[in-house]
C-alpha cells in the first residue's frame, strides 16, 4: 500500500485549474522531488494534501485512509508535516519554544516536549539559536527552524516547500546533507518541491514534473534531466547544456 | 461622633459624566441650604435663617462632604463607604439616580447610618423594608396617579377653563419612556394606572437613552394617533424627541411628561413657543412664588449663585438638606440610632418648605417604609414659556389650555 496516494486531483481557483487531474503515489521511505515552472501548481498541490485547500475533485489517501478535505491540523495528526516557502512568525516565542509547540503535538507533558525539542534542534544544528527570535535570524537558519518545527510533530511524511531557495551553493550543499541525515535518522518519507536543481537532482529517488497544473513527466532524476519536454518547459537549454559541460549528476 | 463645632453630612451626586448638570444644580441647592443653616440670614422667613448652626447640637455647623458617582452604582457604594467610615459623616444625602440610591442605601443599611434621599423616584426604593433609608420626594406612583386623577377631573368638567371632556375623546394613551431604571419603572406604573382608570395604551415605546435617532420611535408612537402622549425622558432625548415630533408635526389632545428632561431651562430655551401646552409633573414651579413667599426669597439667592431658577430636582435637593437639618436639630445628638428614631417621628411643617407639600413625615404605609407621606406633586403647563400650575386645583395659577396645540 502506498503511503500517500493522490487520485485524479483537481483544484481550481475561479476558473483557473491550478491542479488538473493529478494522480500520483508515494511509497513509504521514498524521497520524491516535485518540480515544475513557476505557477505550475506545486504549492497548490502541497496545500491540497495538507488541507489548506479543499480539492474540487479527486481523493487523497494517506496510509490507505481518505484524508481529502481534512483540516491542516488533522492531516498533521495523521502524520504529515510540512514546511513553508515563506514562514513569518511574529510574537515573542523563541526558537526553542516554537519547536516545543511542534513537540506538544504528540505529548502534553512539558518536560518530554522540551527534551524532544532539544534533540531535534541538535539534529538540525540549531543549538546556538535556542533563545533567539525567528525574525532576528538569517533566512537559511529560519528555514532550518521551519524544518525543526515540522520534525517535532513526528511526521511520517515530510513535505518541504522550497527549503533551499535563497541559499547560496555552499549553503545548499549543507541543506542537502542535513536532509539526507534527517531522512536516515528519522526514517521519513520526503516529498519536496524546489527550483534549485542542486538539491532536487542529487537527493530525489524519483521526480514528478508539473506544468500548467498537469503532471507532464515522472521518473528517475537522470531521465527527467534529459526529458526534452521538461527541458523546454522548465530547465531551459542553458541548464541542459551546462549539465553536459560539467558532466555532473 | 463629629462632636463640637461641625456635623458632617455626605452628599453623593453625579458631578461629572452625562448628567453632571443636574448633579451640580443639586449640589448648589444643598450647599445653599447648609449656608442658611450655618450663618445668620435675618431676612429669611423660615427658622433656619436664624439658627447659625444647629441649635439642638449646640450650634454645630453643617459640613457637607461631596462625592461624585458619575452615574455608576458601584462607584456610589464605594464613595458611601468612604464618607461613612473615613469621613465619619452622620448621614448621607443623595444620589439622584435611583440605581445609585439603591447601592448607596444598601451600604447605609449595612453600616446603620441614616440616609435621606431628596429626589429618587423609583417606587421600589421604599419597598425594601430598609430601616435607615428615608425618602422625601413623592415617587413615580404618586406622580402618575396624580395625573390620572387630574384626567378624571377633566372628564368631570372640574378643571377651570375647560368644559367637561367626554371619556371617548380622551381614551387612548401613547407612552414613550426611556430605557434606564427610571424610565422602565415609570412605564410599569403608567401601565398599571392606565388599566386601573380605564384607558387604553395604544402605543408603548421604549427607547435607548441617548439614541442617535428617534424617528422609528416617534413614528410608532404617533401611528395609532393616541389622544394622550406620555413621556419619561432625560434632557438629550427630550430634545431629540421633540425635534423629531416636530418634523412629524405631531398632534394629540394632551402631552404629559415626567419632569427631568422636559422640565429644564434648557428645554424651554431650545423650543420656545413650541413648548406651549406641554404638561409636566414636578414638585416645583416659579409660579409657586405667589403662594409661597419663602420659595421666592430663597430662589433669589439660588439664582444669584447658580444662574438659574429652582426647578424640580434642585428644589427637592434643597428640601432634602432642610430635612436633614431639622432631623439633626430635633435628635439633639449625632448618634445614628437617635437620628433614625427622630426621622421616623419628625413632622416638618409645610410652611417651612419651598415645595408645596403638607410637610415632611416619614411613615410606613402600603408596604412602604419611611416614605414622606406628606409630599405631593404638581402638574404644571407651559403657557407662554412659563410653567403655570394647574394641579392641585387649590394652588393653580392659570387656566388649563386644552387641547394641546401640537407641534407645527
Amino acid at each position: 500500500m502506498p503511503l500517500l496516494e493522490i487520485i485524479d486531483l483537481t483544484k481550481d481557483f475561479g476558473g483557473v485549474a491550478a491542479n488538473n487531474h493529478i494522480s500520483l503515489e508515494i511509497e513509504r521511505g521514498e524521497i520524491i522531488g516535485l518540480i515544475g515552472p513557476n505557477g505550475a501548481g506545486k504549492t497548490t498541490l502541497f496545500n491540497c494534501i495538507v488541507g489548506y485547500h479543499k480539492p474540487n475533485q479527486g481523493a487523497i489517501r494517506f496510509k490507505g485512509k481518505d484524508i481529502t478535505g481534512l483540516k491542516p491540523f488533522q492531516t498533521n495528526r495523521e502524520g504529515i508535516g510540512r514546511t513553508f516557502q515563506i514562514m513569518s512568525i511574529s510574537g515573542d516565542l523563541t526558537v526553542l519554544e516554537n519547536v516545543m509547540v511542534g513537540s506538544f503535538c504528540k505529548t502534553s507533558d512539558r518536560r518530554t516536549a522540551r527534551q524532544e525539542a532539544s534533540e531535534i534542534m541538535n539534529l538540525t544544528g540549531l543549538e546556538q539559536d535556542a533563545e533567539a527570535r525567528l525574525t532576528e535570524l538569517p533566512v537559511a537558519t529560519q528555514k532550518r527552524v521551519g524544518l525543526a518545527m515540522a520534525l517535532a510533530t513526528k511526521p511520517e511524511l515530510l513535505m518541504l516547500d522550497e527549503v533551499a531557495s535563497g541559499l547560496n551553493p555552499r549553503e545548499t550543499e549543507e541543506m542537502v546533507a542535513l536532509l539526507k541525515n534527517i531522512y536516515v535518522v528519522k526514517g521519513l518519507t520526503l516529498f519536496l518541491t524546489e527550483h534549485v536543481m542542486e538539491v532536487v537532482m542529487p537527493i530525489s529517488q524519483r521526480i514528478i514534473v508539473l506544468d500548467g497544473g498537469q503532471k507532464i513527466a515522472e521518473g528517475r532524476p537522470q531521465d527527467i534531466a534529459n526529458n526534452e519536454r521538461v527541458i523546454r518547459a522548465y530547465l531551459g537549454e542553458k541548464y541542459a547544456k551546462g549539465r553536459r559541460d560539467r558532466g555532473s549528476i | 461622633r463629629a462632636q463640637g463645632q461641625e456635623v458632617k453630612i455626605g452628599v453623593i451626586y453625579p458631578l461629572s459624566g452625562p448628567v453632571a448638570h443636574a448633579g451640580n444644580m443639586s449640589k448648589d441647592a444643598v450647599s445653599l441650604c447648609a449656608d442658611y443653616v450655618n450663618n445668620k440670614w435675618p431676612d429669611l422667613p423660615i427658622p433656619i435663617g436664624n439658627w447659625e448652626g444647629i441649635p439642638g447640637l449646640n450650634g454645630a455647623k453643617i459640613k457637607l462632604i461631596f462625592a461624585d458617582h458619575r452615574g455608576e452604582p458601584d462607584r456610589g457604594a464605594d464613595l458611601a463607604k468612604k464618607l461613612i467610615i473615613d469621613e465619619k459623616v452622620v448621614g448621607i444625602c443623595g444620589c439622584y439616580h435611583s440605581s445609585v440610591t439603591k447601592t448607596v442605601s444598601t451600604v447605609c443599611e449595612r453600616h446603620k447610618i441614616p440616609m435621606i434621599n431628596p429626589e429618587s423616584t423609583s417606587p421600589v426604593l421604599t419597598k425594601r423594608g430598609y430601616q435607615w433609608f428615608f425618602r422625601a420626594t413623592p415617587h413615580d406612583r404618586i406622580f402618575v396617579r396624580d395625573f390620572f386623577e387630574f384626567l378624571g377631573l377633566l372628564h368631570q368638567g372640574k378643571v377651570p377653563g375647560v368644559k367637561a371632556v367626554p371619556k371617548s375623546e380622551l381614551r387612548t394613551i401613547g407612552a414613550c419612556t426611556e430605557n434606564t431604571e427610571w424610565g422602565a419603572g415609570t412605564r410599569d406604573v403608567i401601565k398599571e394606572f392606565a388599566k386601573q382608570y380605564g384607558y387604553e395604551i395604544v402605543s408603548d415605546v421604549t427607547y435607548p437613552h441617548e439614541s442617535p435617532d428617534l424617528t422609528a420611535e416617534v413614528r410608532r408612537l404617533l401611528a395609532p394617533k393616541p389622544d394622550i402622549l406620555m413621556f419619561a425622558s432625560y434632557i438629550s432625548d427630550a430634545i431629540l424627541l421633540t425635534k423629531t415630533m416636530k418634523e412629524f408635526k405631531a398632534k394629540a389632545k394632551v402631552f404629559w411628561s415626567q419632569d427631568v428632561g422636559f422640565y429644564q431651562p434648557k428645554y424651554i430655551e431650545t423650543f420656545g413657543n413650541d413648548t406651549e401646552g406641554i404638561l409636566n409633573r414636578t414638585v416645583f414651579s416659579k409660579k409657586l412664588f405667589a403662594v409661597k413667599p419663602v420659595a421666592k426669597n430663597i430662589n433669589v439667592e439660588f439664582k444669584k449663585r447658580s444662574g438659574v431658577d429652582f426647578m424640580g430636582t434642585s428644589a427637592r435637593a434643597f428640601t432634602g438638606m432642610q430635612a436633614w437639618a431639622y432631623v439633626l436639630n430635633e435628635a439633639g445628638s449625632t448618634d445614628p440610632e437617635a437620628i433614625r428614631k427622630t426621622a421616623e417621628t419628625i413632622e416638618i411643617p409645610g410652611k417651612d418648605l419651598i415645595v408645596p407639600w403638607k410637610g415632611i413625615k416619614f411613615e410606613d404605609v402600603g408596604g412602604e417604609t419611611n416614605q414622606n407621606t406628606w409630599s405631593s406633586g404638581l402638574i404644571v403647563q407651559y403657557q407662554a414659556q412659563e410653567p403655570e400650575i394647574i394641579y392641585p386645583l387649590d394652588v393653580a395659577t392659570a387656566k388649563f389650555v386644552y387641547p394641546w396645540p401640537g407641534l407645527k
Binding site: 505557477g39 531557495s165 535563497g166 541559499l167 547560496n168 555552499r170 550543499e173 527550483h195 | -
Partner: protein, 234 residues
C-alpha cells in the same frame, strides 16, 4: 556615481553592518555577493533610505544621502527592487507599472517608459490587465523589475532577482539584467547565483558578516579562495 564609505547600520541598536565601503560608476554592473545573513539586503535598504547608517557616509552624484528619506532618494534617481518583490497584489500589472512612475509627472514620459518596459518583458504586455497578485513567481519578478525601471532611474538596485524562479527563468532573468546593462543602465546586483552574477559583473564586492572583505573584477573574485570555498562549495 554612488560612493558608500565605512557605513555601520543597526537593527534596534544591534549593529548588523559594521564596515562596508563600495562605489558604483555610471554604466557599471556591480555585484555584491555574500553568505546568507551577511547583510547584503541591509546594505541595499540603507542606500534606498529605509534604514540609515549610524556611522560612515553615503554620496550619490556628490551629494550626501546618508540622512535622506526613501522618497528623496527615489527622486534623486535610485530605485530598489526588493527581495520579496512586493507587487501590489490587488492592482493590475499596468497600474503597478504606473505606480513605478509615480515621481514622473510627465504623461508622455511615462508612456515611453511603459513601452520600454513592455519591450523588455513582452509577457507583461500580454498580461497588462491581470492583477499583480495572480501572476506566477517569474512574472512577478519581471513586473517588479519593470516597475523599478519605470522611473528611468540612474541606478537600479536588484536584490536577488532570481529568488524562487525556475531554472529556465533564472537564465532569462540574468539575461534581462545583462540586456539592461548593455542598454547603458547602471545596476547594483545582489545574487545567490554567485558564479553567474560575478561573470556578468564589471566589478564585485564580497560581504562577510557586515564587512566588505574583497573587491575586484568579477573574474578576479571568482578566483579567490573565499568565493570558491564558501559560496561555490568547490
Amino acid at each position: 556615481m554612488l560612493k558608500v564609505e565605512e557605513i555601520e547600520v543597526r537593527y534596534s541598536g544591534v549593529p548588523v553592518i559594521h564596515d562596508v565601503s563600495f562605489h558604483v560608476n555610471g554604466g557599471e554592473l556591480i555585484s555584491i555577493v555574500g553568505a546568507n545573513g551577511s547583510g547584503k539586503t541591509t546594505v541595499l535598504k540603507t542606500v534606498a533610505g529605509t534604514l540609515h547608517p549610524t556611522k560612515g557616509s553615503m554620496e550619490f552624484e556628490n551629494e550626501d544621502i546618508s540622512a535622506s528619506t526613501t522618497v528623496e532618494i527615489v527622486r534623486k534617481g535610485i530605485t530598489y527592487v526588493p527581495e520579496e518583490r512586493r507587487i501590489f497584489g490587488p492592482l493590475s500589472v499596468e497600474e503597478n507599472l504606473k505606480l513605478g512612475a509615480y515621481i514622473v509627472n510627465d504623461r508622455e514620459e511615462m508612456e515611453k517608459s511603459l513601452d520600454y518596459v513592455y519591450g523588455l518583458f513582452p509577457i507583461l504586455k500580454t498580461r497588462w490587465k491581470q492583477l499583480g497578485g495572480t501572476l506566477s513567481g517569474g512574472e512577478q519578478q519581471m513586473l517588479a523589475i519593470g516597475r523599478g525601471l519605470m522611473s528611468r532611474p540612474k541606478l537600479l538596485m536588484l536584490d536577488e532577482p532570481s529568488l524562487g524562479l525556475m531554472p529556465k527563468l533564472v537564465d532569462e532573468m540574468l539575461e534581462a539584467v545583462a540586456t539592461l546593462k548593455k542598454e547603458g543602465n547602471t545596476i547594483l546586483l545582489v545574487e545567490q547565483n554567485v558564479r553567474e552574477a560575478l561573470e556578468m559583473a564589471d566589478r564585485g564586492y564580497v560581504l562577510q558578516t557586515g564587512r566588505t572583505i574583497h573587491e575586484g573584477t568579477g573574474q578576479e573574485l571568482l578566483e579567490t579562495d573565499i568565493v570558491k570555498r564558501a559560496f561555490l562549495g568547490l
